[in-house]
């Protein structure tokens, strides 16, 4: 078990700066998900922890000791790659065993470990097969088993589910959560999929352009986004954002907090509009509402309206978020909050 600490790390390749300067502490035993759009530096960060790419400056600490000069194989970390990176010429057994052999684990113990791990991930019948004869899901399990068998203190995963089909992905997600519970080791998981991040993480580290945007639990990052980027990256559909037309301030609300009615309602934010699209998803329906100045996505649990219907949209005061011109959140205790909230009332009617 080990915590991870990145102190003032930066990473550049040639003249490209991927991560300008970053500090992050990943708690021991937590499931931490690094999430962000592609090119935000999340994989770079993971590879720095693994030691595959050395940081340009700063230091990486695992379990409190600086590992910057330690080779990847001796950091006590295991990694699951996006394309699994299974050794194609070795059998499943040899794949799982390879790390143990290199670490000079005696033969009997090796066999015992390989067999118990393969039992856990359901690969027992396939131990003597070549990876090329396995399905995508089974290869994924080989990659997992290969990482698990070394009993690492830190598990690193680089978009491990992105090559699986949708159904298998949901299943593996649950299995990974259970695995984390069982092993209790530190998991660092990279994904660009915010649904994966929300469903699995103890802590989400949201990144953009090499910088951490917000670091919080899934509930907190959803309910109290620190900035416009966090508000719009997390959640499907993302938070609706509109321009106030004053000091560059923007307001926002979650799709499920917009109420639709055929009669004008009394609420803090109201607008008249027309429904331009309707997506019926089963348990919920998503309407796109076009008002005079904006276009909003509204999520309803009931399917009451039809396309081209005139509609009134209302949002309660407590559900409104305000963001300054610097894209930072204007919190309730900010002096400007009430001013802008007041200005918003009735503005887009």
């Amino acid at each position: 078990m080990a915590s991870i600490e990145l102190v003032d790390v930066s990473q550049s390749f040639d003249k490209n700066t991927i991560i300008p300067r970053l500090n992050l502490k990943i708690e021991d035993g937590k499931f931490t998900v690094l999430v962000g759009p592609s090119g935000c530096g999340k994989t770079t960060l993971l590879r720095m922890i693994a030691g595959l790419d050395r940081q340009t400056s700063g230091s990486v600490l695992i379990g409190g000791s600086d590992v910057s000069a330690i080779a990847p194989g001796q950091r006590g970390v295991a990694m699951v790659f996006q394309n699994y990176a299974i050794y194609p010429t070795m059998s499943v057994r040899e794949n799982i065993e390879f790390g143990l052999k290199n670490n000079k684990v005696p033969k009997e113990e090796r066999t015992r470990l390989v067999e118990s791990i393969s039992e856990t991930v359901g690969l027992r019948p396939y131990l003597d097969r070549k990876p090329s004869t396995l399905s995508g899901g089974q290869r994924q399990r080989v990659a997992l088993a290969r990482a698990m068998v070394k009993k690492p203190s830190v598990f690193l995963m680089d978009e491990p589910l992105s090559n699986l089909d949708a159904k298998l992905r949901v299943q593996m997600r649950v299995e990974l959560i259970e695995l984390h519970k069982k092993l209790g080791s530190t998991f660092v998981y990279v994904t660009h999929d915010q649904v994966e991040a929300m469903s699995m993480a103890d802590t989400i580290v949201l990144m953009n352009q090499g910088e951490i945007q917000q670091e919080a639990s899934p509930a907190e990052i959803y309910r109290e986004p620190d900035n416009l980027f966090a508000a719009q990256f997390i959640g499907v559909p993302p938070m609706n954002v509109g321009d106030m037309g004053q000091d560059g301030v923007r307001f926002g609300f979650r799709p499920e907090h917009g109420l639709l009615s055929t009669e004008p309602a009394d609420a803090h934010f109201t607008a008249k509009g027309v429904i331009s699209t309707r997506e019926m998803l089963g348990s919920e329906t998503i309407y796109q509402v076009r008002t005079r100045d904006h276009s909003f996505m509204i999520k309803c649990t009931e399917d009451l309206f039809s396309v081209d219907q005139d509609i009134y949209l209302s949002v309660d005061e407590s559900k409104l978020f305000l963001f300054g011109a610097d894209e930072k959140r204007i919190y309730r205790d900010d002096r400007r909050h009430n001013t802008y909230l007041h200005a918003l009332r009735g503005r887009f009617q």
């Binding site: 595959l52 080779a71 194989g73 295991a78 790659f81 990176a85 050794y87 010429t89 290199n102 070394k150």
Partner: protein, 292 residues
Amino acid sequence: MNRRRVWETTRPYALILPAMIALFLFVVYPVFYLIKLSLYKYNLLNKDKSKFIGLDNYREIFTRDDFYHALANTAVYTVGVVLCTMLLSLGVAVWLRKRSRFNAILQAGLFTPHIISIVSIALVWMWLMEPGHGLLNYVLKAFGLPGSPWLQSSSTSMISVILVSVWHSIGYYALIMVAALQSIPPTIYEAAALDNASRFKVFWKITLPLISPQLFFILVIMTIGSFKVFDTVKIMTGGGPNGSTTTLVYYIYEFRTTSIGFASATGVVLMAIIAVLTFVYFKVLAQRIHYQ
């Protein structure tokens, strides 16, 4: 309707016909003609005086010492060339595997011998290997080492021919191996690094198995090619001195006018040896090759 169906069934045959004609004319027919010739005491001046002698030519081959001598020379040449070229090409390929401008230039340089005519190469090397005035002995002497008679002594002539052939083909085979090495996904090496594998183990357990199909291909191609060596021998030594570099094909060539039947029989034997060798390769090595 019926005519159409006939065309449907004959069309594939019609389409491969031109290729089959060429194949038959230039491969199948000559092979059978070679076998036929090998059964005759052939008279070049008067075809009608040629005499069918059955397997006499073959009987003669296997009783003549110079055939075994040529066969042994060919075997030495093949083992020497295949081993040296494989090992050196692999070394060069591993050295040049990283994509960089410097490596590209080096690679092009190493490949250049392959595009030069073997005749020119052989002539230049003969010049370099001249015992009295050649560059090689000059360099050896400059370092205080004894010079070598190179092509002019039966004890060093074979190694000299091997040296030239190896030099000629390293670049080409290294190119194939570099391509094979570069097609290995880098994440596999990263996974191996995380598995704490030593460099030796990575090379032995990951790199070599992954390029084994290409290595096997090169081994087969090069063995066949080496068994058929002629040009370097013809130009550089003419089979000498004292028959020390007479290889099988050169041996056949020596009988081109005096005894066509005997030469043909030797040709058939050579073909059989190569076929058996290739078969053995496949039998022995097939399970060690990892096709993706």
